[in-house]
């Protein structure tokens, strides 16, 4: 029971501060779920991010469902997912109700102007930590560079890029 409560509170906190969408939440999950709670390993986390890239839905929801399942099976996944979306939904609802007042709030805009560049720093930090755990040799560097070039210059769909890198993994690291 206390484990489920802790799970709920950790994801409530992650949801409340998940500004900037998608990848910014990775830094929060790394801190709370890997470093503080030790619920999953860094490698497992990267695998979850990879799965999240290939399945529908926001990364925050996908990873909370996954981590929740690891900690407390089906009940855990429901509680973690509820935790991560509860504050965002509540705030969105408040903003919808008082929409016309919020639209012109200069103070809020100034805070957002400060948070936006912070989000870039958060994503950069998450990216470096993930690179540290997932690029272990020269083959990994080659796969990363090829993928970056593919999505940037050749405009390859990220899902195709992930599938192709999986094939490269099998080729590079041996079939059997």
């Amino acid at each position: 029971m206390t484990a489920l409560l802790e799970l709920f509170l950790v994801f409530l906190k992650i949801g409340a501060f998940s500004f900037g969408g998608g990848y910014a939440v990775l830094a929060l999950i790394q801190k709370e779920v890997i470093e503080n709670s030790g619920w999953i390993s860094p490698k497992e986390f990267i695998d979850i991010v990879a799965i999240a890239e290939m399945t529908p839905g926001p990364i925050a929801v996908n990873s909370s469902t996954f981590v929740g399942y690891r900690v407390g099976a089906v009940a855990g996944s429901a509680i973690a997912t509820l935790g991560v979306v509860l504050i965002p939904i509540t705030i969105s609802l408040i903003v919808s109700v008082y929409y016309n007042k919020f639209k012109h709030l200069k103070q809020v805009n100034r805070i957002i102007k400060g948070i936006r560049p912070a989000v870039l720093g958060l994503i950069a930090a998450a990216c470096i930590k993930i690179a540290w755990a997932s690029i272990v040799d020269i083959k990994g560097i080659i796969i990363a560079l090829l993928t970056f070039y593919g999505v940037w210059k050749l405009k390859i769909n990220p899902i195709i890029a992930i599938l192709a890198s999986g094939v490269l993994g099998v080729i590079f690291y041996g079939v059997i």
């Binding site: 890239e53 926001p58 996944s77 504050i87 720093g121 994503i123 930090a125 690029i135």
Partner: protein
Amino acid sequence: MLMDIFLTFFKIGSFTIGGGYAMLPIIQKEVVDNKKWLGEEEFLDSIAVTNSLPGPLAINCATFVGYKTAGYAGAAAAALGAVLPSFLIILVIAVFFASFRENPIVERVFSGIRPAVVALIAYALFKLVKSMGVNPLNISFSIAVLLLILLFNFHPIVTIVICGALGFFLYRKEEKQ
């Protein structure tokens, strides 16, 4: 009506891979063009507002559209519809993940995928930097956050609060000038 809202967002949630901005054209097509729940301008306004709030953009946007269409119950129906597909899909994957992860071929596949994930995140960062428009002030915020987290082990939430407060005070000066 509520069922219609729920099903519409369930459908949107089921088919939008990649999350966030990939969802917007699809939400727009369903909500503005097909169902006519919101006008074009109201939809774009809702994106501008919900984009600056915490939480996944698609869920915030669903809540907003749901409320505008059918009040509190509409917001609940839309948010539930948007969350449920990814929840169910990941739940199924999580149940089987432990067993197929130990397969040696799957392990090799993931050894290839992990570096690719780094590249995808780096590319998203690269696009965000371009769209933000770099100036000395905002890029020093970004670099400070990066260093605080990597070198001094700061909690990400602390850096968000600091930058929000700095923005509040620094940009007030700018407005007055």
